[in-house]
């Protein structure tokens, strides 16, 4: 019958119109600046650098290996290696990035940097409100802007962050087990054996790698991993940097010193 489809169409829009006053499903708009839906857990925007503990420079996981810089398809990462070294999460002396810039106006959010990073140092952020009125510098993120704490990482990607924590803890336990098996050469390190014991270990070396992870992260940590992961106490971390098994002559202040890079820090 001619005109049947017209009436059907009119009925459909009338249902939409009237339904929008009673049914939430017919009015799905989220009025964005006023209200917002939480980002999906696997959302990703641009990369950020993870650091452990309270101090972003001391706890920076990045060791300036420059793999991400080489792998980055649009070449938006610029890294300058430091001259000196600082201990990493297991206490090994590592370089750190004296300069780490990501031009997010070039970045294409491919996540390749995250996939190639062997140190779990670079992860994808969910922060998308990055508009700036500075056309040139505003979208060039330096390492301070990029540095985000592990707690923040747990907040935005809880599952992934827990897995990463577990992996790091496992690695660290392995290193410690090795250190325990081969008795520490300098006996002057009381902290090292102490830290190797799985249970109490409030010791400095542990606390450094340990993160104040949420409870779910702790529960997911493998039992072999050292327990101190859970009792992460932030204040113990700084001295921790000094006492490490493989660092007989630690340089406690060095990570905090700003290398003369002439960067925009």
């Amino acid at each position: 019958m001619l005109g049947e489809g017209i009436l059907k169409g009119l009925a459909e829009t009338a249902r939409n119109f009237l339904g929008s006053y009673v049914s939430k499903e017919r009015l799905t708009t989220v009025e964005y600046p006023d209200e917002r839906i939480p980002t999906a857990e696997n959302a990703r925007v641009f990369p950020f650098l993870v650091y452990d503990g309270p101090d972003w420079q001391a706890g920076m996981r990045c060791v300036a290996c420059q793999i991400c810089e080489k792998e980055c398809p649009p070449k938006c990462i610029y890294i300058e290696k430091s001259k000196d070294k600082k201990p990493d999460y297991v206490g090994k002396q590592q370089f750190y990035p004296a300069r780490f810039d990501i031009d997010i106006s070039v970045c294409m959010s491919c996540q390749i940097c995250v996939e190639v990073c062997p140190f779990e140092a670079i992860k994808m952020d969910t922060q998308f409100e990055l508009a700036t009125d500075n056309r040139f510098g505003g979208l060039l993120m330096d390492r301070q802007e990029l540095a985000k704490s592990n707690e923040y990482y747990h907040q935005i990607h809880p599952t992934e962050a827990s897995e990463v924590d577990a992996r790091l803890a496992e690695e660290k336990a392995k290193v410690e087990a090795k250190a325990k098996a081969a008795p520490p050469a300098p006996a002057a390190k009381p902290a090292a054996p102490a830290s190797a014991t799985p249970k109490p270990a409030p010791a400095a070396a542990e606390a450094k790698a340990a993160t104040p992870a949420p409870a779910d992260a702790a529960s997911k940590a493998p039992p072999a991993a050292s327990a101190p992961k859970t009792e992460a106490s932030a204040p113990t971390e700084k001295p921790a940097a000094a006492i490490t098994p493989e660092a007989p002559a630690p340089k406690p202040a060095s990570p905090k010193e700003e290398p003369p890079t002439g960067g925009k820090d």
Binding site: L2, N16, F17, S20, T29
Partner: protein
């Protein structure tokens, strides 16, 4: 008291005219009427734009404007300021005078149509004996402005839009006039107040509107379709089909000239709704005899706004027609039905009151509608489009 409120604008105009010498009275009341028309209908336009956008939004599961003012109702103010402060760009090769005149001609001719429209009891600017004719003459003049705009812009999209608009408006003017002729045949007058007066009677509580007769219903449907097309509203918005020809004949207009085109289109919609109300929906007459205490002008504007909401509803529902579908529909479907409706109206007139006229007229119209619908569906280029390859592929 109710009668006084009903006539409050007339009383006010006469009171103002009382301050002037007697020779000026007619002029003063007319000027006041003009001021009323020129202020009320643009105000209605402003309200309609925001209501339309909100209503369309709801039909499409979104909110519509809600930022400016309470619930977005100051949006037209913001739009007006924007269009006033925008740069008025005239193409270098455009015919300047024509380009300037086109929006003015549109708005002026559309406003002229309101002169004969009875917006309430005794409330028409000019009680012309040939008011209907005058109205249609003014409506036809808008085509001139549309073509002026398209031609003077010196832009291929503009001229395409203008050609489409003129073809469409002339095609649909024919069935629209014929549907109005049916009313004239029954009333025996071209005067719009007389047409309303003919419908302002009741049997019991039920009104004698022409839409409640078989010929009137058919004529009303034809009129509504033709009016939608005349005012270039979706689904007949080919002249300004955004996806094909940018904005049609007002592609090259910006700033306030564009706003004038916009205003002119909406005013044409109001005028056509007002005329449809007058011809078929009883004009300012109340829908039930008991509701006569409500002023006649409230009824008129309520009916106009109802028609406008149907316009908006249709815009939110239908996709745009193709040019050939539009023309086929006008000349091969609407026009024959309109002509048949004239015959039915004559039968209705000469059969006289009784059940026979209802049966005969209804039967003729329904049979004609069904048969023509079947025929239309059978003809390949008028009926539903068959996607040969897609259908074969799916089989």
């Amino acid at each position: 008291m109710a009668a006084k409120i009903d006539q409050i604008f007339i009383i006010f105009a006469n009171w103002v005219a009382g301050f002037f010498p007697a020779a000026w009275h007619a002029a003063i009341t007319h000027v006041l009427g003009v001021i009323g028309i020129v202020s009320i209908f643009p105000a209605l336009f402003a309200i309609t734009t925001v209501l339309e956008r909100k209503g369309l939004g709801r039909m499409q599961n979104r909110l519509g404007p809600n930022r400016v003012g309470p619930a977005g109702f100051l949006q037209p103010v913001a739009d007006g300021i924007k269009s006033l402060t925008k740069e008025d760009v005239v193409p270098f090769t455009a015919n300047g005078i024509m380009h300037f005149l086109a929006p003015l001609v549109l708005v002026v001719t559309v406003f002229m149509g309101f002169a004969v429209l009875p917006v309430g009891r005794h409330m028409q600017l000019v009680d012309m004996d040939s008011g209907l004719l005058f109205f249609f003459a003014m409506g036809a003049a808008t085509e001139l402005s549309v073509f002026m705009a398209g031609w003077s812009s010196r832009n291929k999209y503009s001229i395409l839009g203008a050609m489409r608009a003129v073809a469409q408006m002339i095609s649909y003017e024919v069935p629209m006039l014929l549907s109005a002729v049916a009313v004239v045949m029954i009333v025996g007058s071209l005067s719009l107040p007389r047409i309303v007066a003919a419908q302002d009677t009741y049997s019991g509580i039920w009104p004698h509107w022409f839409i409640f007769t078989p010929w009137g219903f058919a004529a009303f449907l034809i009129y509504a379709i033709a009016a939608t097309s005349e005012s270039n509203r979706s689904p007949f918005d080919l002249p300004e089909g955004e996806s094909e020809i940018v904005a049609g004949y007002h592609t090259e207009y910006s700033g306030f000239k564009f706003a004038l085109f916009f205003l002119g289109e909406y005013l044409a919609m109001f005028a056509l709704s007002g005329l449809g109300t007058t011809l078929f929906l009883g004009g300012w007459a109340a829908p039930f005899s008991g509701l006569n205490f409500i002023p006649s002008w409230i009824w008129f504007f309520a009916k106009v706004m109802m028609s406008i909401s149907v316009f908006i509803w249709m815009r939110g529902t239908f996709p745009r027609l193709r040019q050939d579908q539009l023309m086929n529909f006008a000349w091969k479907f609407i026009l024959p039905l309109a002509l048949l409706d004239l015959i039915v109206t004559a039968i209705w007139r000469f059969l006289g009151p009784g059940w026979q006229q209802w049966v005969v007229c209804c039967a003729i119209l329904i049979v004609a509608y069904v048969v023509m619908g079947r025929l239309a569906f059978a003809v390949k280029h008028i009926g539903p489009r068959r996607y040969r390859y897609a259908e074969e592929g799916s089989r």
